[in-house]
């Protein structure tokens, strides 16, 4: 139970800079929660879920109290996963830029991928901040919406850049939009993963399918690759998604048997 209480408190304290003041308050609230849980058990309550819900409800509007206390917020998150995710995003963009460049030799066009990478990384950081600042379920929704908005905004920027810099490219520039689905779903996967939310498998599968399909539609639509025989890409995507599904359940069953 104490572990659950700590997890609950960490969720809200995460956005504040560590200080003696925050540590004291966190310890004080944790002691109260533990004392209340012990009293519930002494009164004969046995359902741990019910005890947890009662204790949390007794706290009242805890996030508002923290805001009211005026603790200093962190400017940068302190979780290493966050920076790893950002680095992965940029690496992905650079890799995509190099692959697309070497495959098509259209270096004058594929540079947009390298621009989009850092833009999306920054977008993801904003999404993460939106979640942190808002907190709770509403924060997750805000982060997801910000992720989709950032991706499609980036696509719109790419579309406009191409229209302006490459005259007569309107017939190809539209490809930026199907390609934007990839980072949008990628950001959704990251947000789900970083915040340990449900629905991760479904999101990974959607991301893998979109990665292959939209890459095919986008690149072929832009004339960077021929439609035939690259139709194999969506099929490879379906196979990869199936692979993810099998790996997921085999990992889950292995964990289950280990326990």
């Amino acid at each position: 139970m104490e572990k659950r209480f700590k997890k609950y408190l960490d969720k809200y304290f995460l956005i504040y800079k560590s200080s003696q003041e925050t540590a004291d308050y966190r310890e004080e609230v944790l002691a109260t929660l533990n004392a209340r849980a012990a009293e519930c058990r002494a009164r004969g309550m046995t359902d741990e879920g019910e005890i947890y819900a009662y204790c949390i409800d007794s706290l009242g509007d805890f996030p508002s109290t923290l805001r009211e206390f005026g603790f200093k917020t962190r400017f940068f998150p302190d979780r290493p996963q966050f920076y790893l995710a950002l680095a992965a995003f940029i690496l992905l963009a650079v890799t995509a830029f190099l692959i697309a460049g070497f495959a098509t030799h259209a270096w004058s066009k594929v540079w947009v991928i390298a621009v989009c990478g850092p833009l999306l990384a920054a977008g993801t950081a904003v999404c993460y901040e939106a979640k942190r600042l808002q907190g709770g379920k509403g924060g997750i929704i805000a982060a997801r919406l910000a992720g989709y908005a950032t991706s499609f905004l980036t696509a719109a920027i790419v579309f406009l850049i191409m229209l302006i810099s490459v005259p007569g490219s309107a017939g190809k520039a539209w490809a930026a939009f199907p390609l934007a689905i990839i980072p949008a779903l990628g950001a959704d996967v990251l947000i789900t993963l970083l915040n340990k939310r449900k629905g991760l498998l479904l999101r990974i599968i959607a991301f893998v399918l979109a990665l292959f399909t939209m890459l095919y539609v986008g690149l072929a639509g832009a004339g960077a690759i021929p439609w035939h025989p690259y139709w194999i890409l969506p099929i490879l995507g379906a196979a990869a998604a199936l692979g993810v599904l099998i790996a997921w359940f085999s990992l889950k069953s292995r964990r289950g048997s280990d326990n």
Binding site: E27, E28, A31, T32, S58, L59, G60, T65, E68
Partner: protein, 109 residues
């Protein structure tokens, strides 16, 4: 029938100071004492109590210190300061006058 916590609004600090006048105490215990004295009709959320603590600490009415609890857990105790005692006496007097007026107004005495 549970009474709204709003009824205590404006008096939370005085109520807490009243409890601390009898001796040092910690958040959970104070909340429990309020709940028991309210005969189950009045219940204050922890957030309200901690906000009041914070305000009173800032105003110098109470002081906090850490101490081992009865079962060994570390607890943050609160003690009333001299300014707190003066403030409490003033608020108590205000309440005595106000309650007499309200009683006359509501009961028509």
């Amino acid at each position: 029938m549970a009474l709204s916590g709003d009824l205590l609004r404006g008096h939370t600090e005085t109520v807490i100071l009243g409890i601390l006048m009898k001796g040092d105490s910690y958040g959970y215990d104070i909340g429990k004492k309020i709940s028991e004295a309210g005969e189950g009709l009045i219940e204050l959320k922890d957030a309200t109590i901690y906000t009041a603590f914070r305000r009173m600490e800032d105003d110098g009415l109470i002081r906090a210190y850490w101490s081992e609890g009865e079962v060994g857990a570390r607890r943050r105790y609160y003690t009333i300061t001299d300014s707190g005692k003066i403030y409490y006496a003033r608020k108590k007097d205000e309440w005595r006058k106000l309650s007499a007026i309200l009683d006359r107004l509501i009961n028509g005495g």
